[in-house]
Symmetry: C2
Subunit: 387 residues, 2 copies
Amino acid sequence: MTTVRIAGATLTHFGSHPDRTGRDLFAEAALGAREQAGVPRDDIDEVAYGNFMGELAERQGHQGPIMAEAAGLNCPATRYEDACASAGVAVRAGVSAIRSGRADVVLAGGMERMTNQETENTTEFLAIAADELYEVRAGMTFPGAYALMQRAYMNEFGGEREDFAHIAVKNHDHALPNEYAQYRSAISVEDHLDAPMISDPVGLYDSCPITDGAAAVILVSEEYAAEHALDAPVAITGTGQGGDNIALQDRTHLNRTPATARAADEAFADAGITPDDVAAVEVHDCFTVAEVLALEGLGFYDPGEAVTAARDGETTKHGSLPVNLSGGLKAKGHPVGATGASQITEMYRLLTGEHPNSEYVDGRVGVTHNAGGTVASAVVHVLEVDA
Amino acid sequence: MTTVRIAGATLTHFGSHPDRTGRDLFAEAALGAREQAGVPRDDIDEVAYGNFMGELAERQGHQGPIMAEAAGLNCPATRYEDACASAGVAVRAGVSAIRSGRADVVLAGGMERMTNQETENTTEFLAIAADELYEVRAGMTFPGAYALMQRAYMNEFGGEREDFAHIAVKNHDHALPNEYAQYRSAISVEDHLDAPMISDPVGLYDSCPITDGAAAVILVSEEYAAEHALDAPVAITGTGQGGDNIALQDRTHLNRTPATARAADEAFADAGITPDDVAAVEVHDCFTVAEVLALEGLGFYDPGEAVTAARDGETTKHGSLPVNLSGGLKAKGHPVGATGASQITEMYRLLTGEHPNSEYVDGRVGVTHNAGGTVASAVVHVLEVDA
């Protein structure tokens, strides 16, 4: 089975782009990745594209061929959807397409346009990632769902809202030098605690923002990279995906995410690594508690320990395991259907020394973690430089 | 690379099921396929699920994990979306997942629930498969788009509405013994010509109906089938996908479907077959002209010839190339996100002698063709029995 390499990886600025269409945004990322890779357009075998809520927010389905066209391509194109894990799933599909032999070169990425809607609409649209019959009809939206998860965590393991504040403070700090980030502004623990409560204990600064943006990566087979003498030092050596019941009521624990653990087990085994090998991690911190649950699900911390690690600074850029050096969903932004690909792009930049925070990466293995809903879907990738 | 085999393949009745949820429908198909295959639930590595308009029609995204749960599974699950080609793409993803080595057993299928909406809504929801910026805003819906394609075909190649009527008459005839079909009623050429015009030259009987339904197949690796002594005589030996510009205005011809040709080239090469090897075909006849364009795109007829073949009876059950022995989208029904998987199921039944129309299949190779939008996406599969 061939090794899959990254030949190019870019993203747009994450933020509010009301004047730009979705195809504009994806084209920018895709053309950037194509230019970086130096791959002729006719060599691209397929487009693997993530988008979550475009059917509602833009009244546009069938975005695969639209985005292929926007990227200047005339090739098979498919949309992958697992809520906010859509682009992670698209990247995983690209890896499998190359490993299966059906493709040598895949453009994988995602796009979401969210700020063209009223916040109320966006909240309602995002809620379709939860169970319509058993959760949404009862009034559940995602801040409420993650509030239940954080409350269950605090009930079992302790911890205060202030402990979670450290995660938001850290991710805002990490985003400061990142030109693509939505928020490049420092916040303090006091700012976090003084901010409006959204759904107790989830406050405004526990929550990621609403974002427009796109990201794209060019994946190539080892053989293609060698034949064309591509500069592709980073390989995706592991991919894994996990699933879970979609409704919280069907879970045995609200404060554990077994889908993440399953995805990590598969990806780490695929790459032949252990958590100890990992130098940097990008996790799906749609809420601060989500970062905690992700780090525990990935096996970096035992249940109940990751919030302590955050408070103790272990996951800052100066800590033993830098988490979300990009700024994470919290500060870099979260265009939901693009996030999984943007994590791959950011990890690529971190590992190749092109990221302003690359200096904090002490090692050659990075892990990305993308989740959908209340982690009913999770996708994990292992990236290695000079592999 | 392993050969991918079908261990089970079922569908629900296609028709109007206003009293059943989407998960009810998919569970019926999935449990049927599981039972037929005799595969333990823990052996199923992933669910590849097609759905097109559920975000609008059911306000439910993230249906992958929901449908895995409905099927009694706790495994990774992803939704694939390429408009009406969604389930074809899902089956193709399942094939690649097994060929890539990431899975041994995949449950692939799709579901769509459409009759819970007013027809007006359904038409509007289906329109999101077209280009929102350049087609839908101008008032384009699918009967109109296919009317343009049929008009362009008639202008270049001749043919009358009566010639196209033969396709509808044939597909209704084929559906008569099919217990899963939405319409088991014969129609005549006169019925077709007397029926209301929808969008000239597309009349009511040129158009497929609005349908609820689901279909599922269990795909297994050759090795898994052998190890577990499964009865799996049909292999999927070829898979291909093609893309095209989504808006008709960007095509060089309105009466040709190059995405189908690209998908067929890839699938036939993958299987090592030519059109001459094929004993039966299931094509995407959302409108009668779509069947014509599909047969020409697949290489069974030269441009301008397939409508003549229909008039001459070559594609009936008694003809040289039986097309849509299931009844096709026209008479079997078209639950859009399930159709691609239902074609695989019907071809499996046809090849294994389990279909009431199996007697008309003279050979061991069948081809399925699933299209999205005005064929901006196309997926082709080659199935072989005793391969």
